[in-house]
Symmetry: C2
Subunit: 360 residues, 2 copies
Amino acid sequence: MIAADTPIAEIGERELLRRIRARIPQGAGVVVGAGDDAAAFETGPLTLLTTDCLVEGVHFRRAWSPPRLLGRKALTVNLSDIAAMAGVPRHATVSLCLPGDLPVSFVDELYDGLLERAAEAGVALVGGNLSAISGPIVVDVALVGQADRPLRRSGARAGEILVVTGTLGAAAAGLGLLSQGARLSAEGQLEATGIWTAASAAAVLHCLRAQLDPAPPLAFARALAEHDLASAGLDVSDGLSGDLLELCRESDVSARLDAAALPVDPYAASLERAQGRDAFRLALHGAEDYQQLLAIASDRLEALRDIAGVWDLPVTVIGQLAPGPPALWLERGEELTPLVPDSYEHFRSDRGHGTSAPRA
Amino acid sequence: MIAADTPIAEIGERELLRRIRARIPQGAGVVVGAGDDAAAFETGPLTLLTTDCLVEGVHFRRAWSPPRLLGRKALTVNLSDIAAMAGVPRHATVSLCLPGDLPVSFVDELYDGLLERAAEAGVALVGGNLSAISGPIVVDVALVGQADRPLRRSGARAGEILVVTGTLGAAAAGLGLLSQGARLSAEGQLEATGIWTAASAAAVLHCLRAQLDPAPPLAFARALAEHDLASAGLDVSDGLSGDLLELCRESDVSARLDAAALPVDPYAASLERAQGRDAFRLALHGAEDYQQLLAIASDRLEALRDIAGVWDLPVTVIGQLAPGPPALWLERGEELTPLVPDSYEHFRSDRGHGTSAPRA
């Protein structure tokens, strides 16, 4: 029995690998699981592959993210990408870079979250890689999925309407709450409200969960593909403004956003209002909401709403596409102004890169 | 035109992504390449997936590895894993964690190597991920391949013989040469011999290349599968002793290694001899030779040699398997002694983790 606070340097790579492998169930269609040179599994004719990583000090802080939630999120951000392609997630590898003084309990709890989220999503973990690092923790997931008709970022046409699922701004508000001392427990319960009173507990919990344990509309995206309703789509991970501009660039269209229509998250709005601010900017530019942004022909809206209704998922028409060149316009009543994206970008020194989680 | 020494922090993530994407050719069978939420490509019924990463300060040093060779190696270590499963490599994603002060030329040259190696191996790069990091560079590749009959680590049987391709110890010797000041140029030519004279140039070049730009027998491994000759196999990445013990554990057999038979790399041997040492330990325990270690029935050796002959690839019988429990024995003439693996393990504080490349 190894004590939970044992540094992984005392255990070593092979023992840690065995510890991890012993926990990973054999998934459906998996011919070779974790523990060989590569995993082998049965696939359909069209395979999807995505990779996304969480870097300590950039995407998360150890003091802010319980390892279990970090494990869940590391898979979720990839699940969201596969969903955005209208795909079914199938098999994942986990590549970890870990400092040697990390307690083994951190890795155990990280895998609690990874395995739990994998089971929820029907994904088989099929291996990965462990490496030492003299620096921040890196959790890099590669996720393979399947799609009959992948939904691309290109394909949107002028005249189509823009639809977004769920609400926007909660994840960015959650990031602000973390910096104000609010915390979730490993179980995803409210552990500290920070500067907030118990009266705001529900809002604080909601926004912290949006940031630390996001729940993208995975099943909805899949159903969407089966009914071939959308022309183009992507997940809102960097922020609506920047992600929408990507869609415009890939489809060579421009977009007009209706400011009044934006589904600003009501909890985020209440917390921002209490601080004399407006959550509109969070909804417009804030990162990591992991909702789906879709371009559809307006005569398909009814069918789209029917499908979303199965999961009680709000879908909101937030604007319309016009011919290119790629550009964004914000419509407030009669006023139409150019919209400059302010989404998160890595590396930019003016955005505080490398020192904090993505800016809201 | 962006100057080569421009820090990537001045360029930003989206621009750097565009710069990379503009260089990536569309591969065969690729339906959606880089630039969408996930890649989509046509696959056969059985898909392989592996991931392996190179971490600065652990697997490489910036002063020792020209970025082009680093890019080549980042793909090669994954190609070796797919080859060890007797698979054909097909599609790869590249996940980079980069500090903001890194010059853009580093990323350009890294991709020179990645793209060149991908073209050599018939692999399509289909996307990836960029993240900032406040710390070491991380290059993480996920590689998808195909196999009709994957060659596993399990499946070896008592009585079978052990065969290894190529020579062993050159990569570990190359690591020692780097610490003695020897260097390769970005083109893989000898730039500095370090403490060595010109008379040793050929040996120094050979060992540096083995360390910085390894060339696993990829096509051989593939042909092997077509002829169904091996019972089990893996690539020698952590060191023969440790990797062989893995094979024994997975197949529940023990192994007897014939010390005299080990194909010690002759260049590594000459350099070690000049320093009054024996390269045998490098061949036995040294990491990163990326040769293939195979268990085969002895009556298949001739057929195996025929196939290896196509690529002028030496194959050497280095020992035999016996019933379990998993253990290693070293045979020197009449003497039979237990062999304790001394292969590289991450995290182990007694192995100098996090401060240097894998120990030889």
